[in-house]
């Protein structure tokens, strides 16, 4: 008998974030009024966060396949073949809304969620990154949010035991009311031991593992699918609390259980907890599933079916196990001190049945919960194109040394050391390129010994560019990740995307989304970097102000020999500095204009993907062949900032000899033309490299030599490396200590 004590009013439906036409869809599907538990289940399955109802149409157009792709989007994380029977598993996911409301816990649970996605597939996490975006530094909430989010990311990852090797931190007023916390995790597994969520077999035990279920996070996913207003702080109770120790136990117990052969299917309980995980396991396996909530371990007595189905308590898993191995499985979980309960069985009815205290609280068609979720083709408008800024009309600095120091000491270009020193980036002992360079590099041992491979990791997007031109900005995000990987000698093999946008019900926001995805897709195709996993976060708005469109990219590259890499630091006196790529002095949307003059003007730099490919291949091959002693991609702040970064990283100065310029000097030094790198090589090697570049059609020019203790461009600029470092390192600690 279906139990329903509460009348379903239009107000109740609205409170569940369901539109009247969506509710009508439910009535049509099940042919009766839903129970409260059922309404909760529908709201969990059909909110934007879980159903991708506004984005699905456009996500389908992204390139997700490739020779190396073993598993693309749709599972907990993407899986990519890296040879030797090994595969890398990775994904990036947002925890924006919770982090704004409760920065520490929002960030910890974001990190916890993404780590769980990775080890649910059977992989041991080997690297984490995070892309963080905050409001302007002077905004009253920013300091508090930065402090809490960074502590939370570190607090979870450090205890769990994964090295946090990279990421991004940006400040912009458009994130004043809505920060972004995008967490990336990657893990390693044997390609023939991938675990999936698809249930198999009728009458199989469905087992609940991990922490107990509490009343935390009920409707978390629904919160993440709505805009913020001034009362958002009242949503604090919907934020969950992370327990990295429990996650560490869950990791070890899950991997041990998988190795025992007892696991048929596994799904972590993330957004919308028990509901989403159970429905997904059944629906994917073309099976029904019956849950008995009396068996669910709970943190407090008296929890209702509704609460249990919607709780987002952390560090929980659902598994389907081989019945004859139940005991063995339970022993493993007891060893790790975790809860283990058989909470249901698979059935052949294709129904999702939830029982509590002898009553049937829900009885729904399991496949329709996912398959029949609404899908919208939201109206969108083509974003307006901005005109191209003539560099000659932009202001030149009065003092180049001061301009460089001001840029290096600006919130967006200053050193992130204050952040990444709070993250354990060395644990596991495999970190070969540490934070602060273009991309992190992590060693991967081959299963049968031999020289170790490497994986490169980077996070990129320039939201200012995407705002100014979503299509080019989308391309640029991929191109920059491509460059960062090439610069460390890694072949880019795949990406994950974390698409953060405003309210999709506004046609101009939807226009940003559509065009940015077009740009991402085009670049991924051109550079052979399929998108294997991702996450969409919409409704990032507060009081009608949307964030900058931020399709954050997490990219992974492969190295055959992990020792064949270089850093960004100048390595040896007299090394020749070579600029790779063409410089037209593109000033539109440059960091120079934004950080020094507060201007966000003009079209962003266009990205020529064939040039990106050619230049990137050339640089990567030079790195791998051991021909260059340092390599750095050019991005925010252009050539001069890149040179300063190389000087600071290597503790060596440089004398720059300007070539004949047909662009204004400041545009040459600060322009953000794409597809460019600076590499250094011994004088003899540099000459050969420049000849080889010419043969390959790659522009390459010697622009100076490493040496001394200052960066010198006579007669325009002389700054000591110490002064560069002082300004570069000062901003973050001063800001955070409130000085």
């Amino acid at each position: 008998m279906l139990r329903n004590d509460i009348a379903i009013t239009p107000e109740l439906v609205a409170e569940h974030g369901l539109k009247p036409d969506e509710y009508q869809r439910i009535l049509d599907l099940i042919g009766r009024e839903p129970t409260l538990t059922e309404l909760g289940i529908f709201s969990a399955m059909w909110n934007e966060h879980c159903s991708y109802k506004s984005s699905k149409k456009w996500l389908r157009k992204l390139p997700t396949k490739g020779e190396r792709v073993l598993i693309g989007p749709g599972e907990n994380a993407g899986v990519v073949d890296i040879g030797d029977g090994q595969a890398v598993v990775f994904k990036m996911e947002s925890h924006n809304h919770p982090s704004y409301i409760e920065p520490y816990q929002g960030a910890t649970t974001g990190v916890g969620g993404i780590l769980r996605d990775v080890f649910t597939m059977g992989a041991r996490p080997i690297a984490a990154m995070n892309a963080l975006r905050f409001g302007e530094p002077t905004h009253p909430k920013t300091h508090h949010i930065v402090s809490g989010v960074v502590a939370g990311v570190g607090g979870y990852g450090n205890s769990f035991g994964v090295p946090t090797v990279g990421g991004e931190v940006n400040f912009h007023p458009r994130y004043n009311g809505n920060c972004l916390v995008n967490a990336f995790a990657a893990g390693l597994l044997d390609a023939d031991k991938i675990f999936l969520s698809e249930a198999k077999g009728v009458g199989m035990p469905v087992v609940y593992l991990g922490s107990k279920t509490g009343r935390d996070g009920i409707h978390g996913a629904s919160m993440a699918s709505a805009e913020f207003d001034d009362n958002s702080a009242e949503k604090r109770p919907t934020v969950q609390v992370g327990d990295p120790f429990a996650e560490k136990l869950l990791l070890e117990a899950s991997l041990e259980l998988m190795a025992s052969g007892a696991v048929i299917a596994i799904q972590d309980m993330g957004a919308a907890g028990l509901t989403c995980s159970a429905v997904e396991m059944g629906a994917k396996g073309n099976l029904g599933l019956e849950l008995n909530l009396d068996a669910v371990p709970t943190r407090e007595p008296g929890m209702t079916a509704y609460e249990m189905m919607l709780s987002e308590s952390q560090e929980r898993m659902l598994m389907v196990l081989h019945p004859h191995l139940e005991e063995q499985a339970e022993a493993i979980f007891r060893k790790w001190g975790l809860d283990f309960a058989i909470v249901g069985r698979t059935t052949d009815t294709l129904r999702f049945v939830v029982k509590h205290h002898g009553d049937v609280m829900a009885d729904l068609p399991i496949k329709d919960l996912g398959d029949q979720a609404p899908e919208y083709d939201r109206p969108w408008v083509e974003p307006k194109k901005l005109s191209i800024l003539d560099p000659a009309t932009t202001r030149a600095p009065e003092d180049y040394s001061k301009a460089l120091l001001d840029l290096l000491g600006s919130p967006n270009l200053s050193s992130r050391r204050w952040v990444w020193e709070q993250y354990d980036h060395l644990i596991q002992g495999n970190t070969v390129q540490r934070p602060g360079g273009d991309a992190a590099v992590v060693r991967v041992e081959r299963p049968n010994g031999g020289k170790a491979k490497g994986l490169g990791f980077t996070c990129d997007v320039t939201p200012r560019y995407v705002e100014a031109d979503p299509f080019e900005g989308g391309k640029q995000a991929i191109a920059e990740s491509w460059r960062n990987l090439c610069a460390v000698g890694a072949l880019p093999i795949a990406v994950t995307d974390n698409l953060n946008f405003g309210n999709p019900e506004r046609p101009e926001i939807m226009g940003q989304f559509v065009k940015a995805l077009e740009g991402l897709g085009e670049a991924c195709r051109a550079l052979d970097m399929p998108i294997v996993s991702g996450n969409v976060s919409l409704y990032n708005e507060t009081n009608g102000v949307a964030i900058l469109p931020t399709p954050a990219i997490g990219a992974v590259g492969l190295m055959d020999d992990v020792t064949k890499t270089v850093g960004i630091g100048f390595a040896a006196e007299e090394d020749v500095i070579v600029l790779v790529g063409d410089t037209a002095g593109w000033m539109g949307q440059s960091s120079y204009l934004y950080e020094l003059f507060g201007l966000e003007e003009g079209a962003p730099p266009p990205v020529d993907l064939s040039v990106e490919k050619r230049n990137g291949d050339f640089v990567r091959e030079a790195v791998v062949a051991g021909r260059v002693t340092a390599a750095h991609d050019l991005s925010d702040g252009g050539l001069l900032v890149a040179l300063a970064e190389m000087a600071m990283a290597g503790g060596k100065g440089a004398r720059i000899l300007l070539p004949d310029l047909d662009v204004p000097l400041h545009a040459f030094l600060f322009g953000e033309d794409q597809a460019r790198y600076v590499v250094t090589a011994s004088p003899a090697e540099a000459s050969k490299l420049i000849v080889d570049a010419a043969m390959a059609g790659v522009p390459a020019t010697a622009i100076g030599a490493v040496g001394g203790d200052a960066l010198v461009i006579a007669p325009h600029l002389t700054v000591s490396v110490d002064d560069l470092r002082h300004r570069h390192e000062s901003w973050f600690p001063s800001y955070m200590s409130g000085v």
Binding site: N158, G161, F245, E421, Y423, I427, G429, V432
Partner: protein, 228 residues
């Protein structure tokens, strides 16, 4: 060198430590689960870094009361080598094998960075491969590594040359800036009276191979390999 690496459920640098033992000595470590009550026949018992039981209470407080600890104590009493790194240092102070305690870092923040250590006693079984006064690079990764001991204990430690490592600058000078966590007398590592128990906050096990950025951490394991 036969070694045992203790594994508490929330410990997380046990593989790093076991790898260091294996790279230097060629012998695999025994991994010993915290609920065991006996140790295998080993020369060195190593307690790695991590968050033994989550460390939501005082770091190492619960680990110090776990079943394996009695065996560790007996091993130390027999004169066996005990190496406690990071959480391991916190645990051996909780057990009482070493004096003093580790408090929150003076910055109140978790800190992961490479620091310089001065080897102030190169005569111990843990440091004989280093030169006296040698400055080595070594990573730290902790939130509670601020060593403290009362004046009497401190005077004894200093008087008996039991301060083995100190945080210093590149030249070996003890500066406020170099003292990463605010430890009293810049103490990074100490030994017991008998010299068979070493506790230290930094992680020599993460600087063993060139591709980790240096090999300054090897000396500690090479020293042990000479005696064990």
């Amino acid at each position: 060198m036969k070694s045992a690496v203790l594994v508490f459920p929330g410990i997380n640098r046990e593989r790093d430590l076991a790898r260091a033992f294996e790279v230097v000595s060629g012998v695999k470590s025994h991994m010993v689960w915290h609920t065991e009550t006996e140790l295998p026949d080993v020369d060195v018992v190593a307690i790695p870094g991590g968050f033994s039981y989550g460390d939501y209470l005082r770091c190492g407080a619960i680990a110090a009361r776990s079943p394996i600890i009695d065996a560790v104590r007996r091993h130390a009493e027999r004169g066996g080598w005990v190496l406690g790194i990071c959480n391991g240092f916190q645990i051996v102070t909780e057990i009482g094998l070493l004096p003093g305690a580790l408090m929150r870092n003076a910055s109140l923040k978790f800190m992961c960075k490479e620091v310089n250590l001065r080897v102030d006693n190169a005569t111990t079984a843990f440091t004989s491969a280093y030169a006296p006064g040698q400055v080595i690079r070594c990573p730290v990764a902790h939130g509670e590594g601020n060593y403290f001991a009362d004046p009497e204990t401190l005077a004894r430690l200093e008087g008996e040359g039991r301060v083995v490592f100190r945080y210093c600058d590149e030249k070996g000078e003890l500066t406020e800036a170099a003292n990463v966590n605010g430890s009293i007398n810049a103490i990074a590592g100490i030994v017991n009276e008998r010299g068979n128990v070493l506790g230290m906050m930094p992680h020599p096990e993460n600087l063993i191979e060139a591709l980790q950025g240096g090999i300054d951490g090897r000396g500690l394991f090479e020293s042990l390999a000479k005696v064990a």
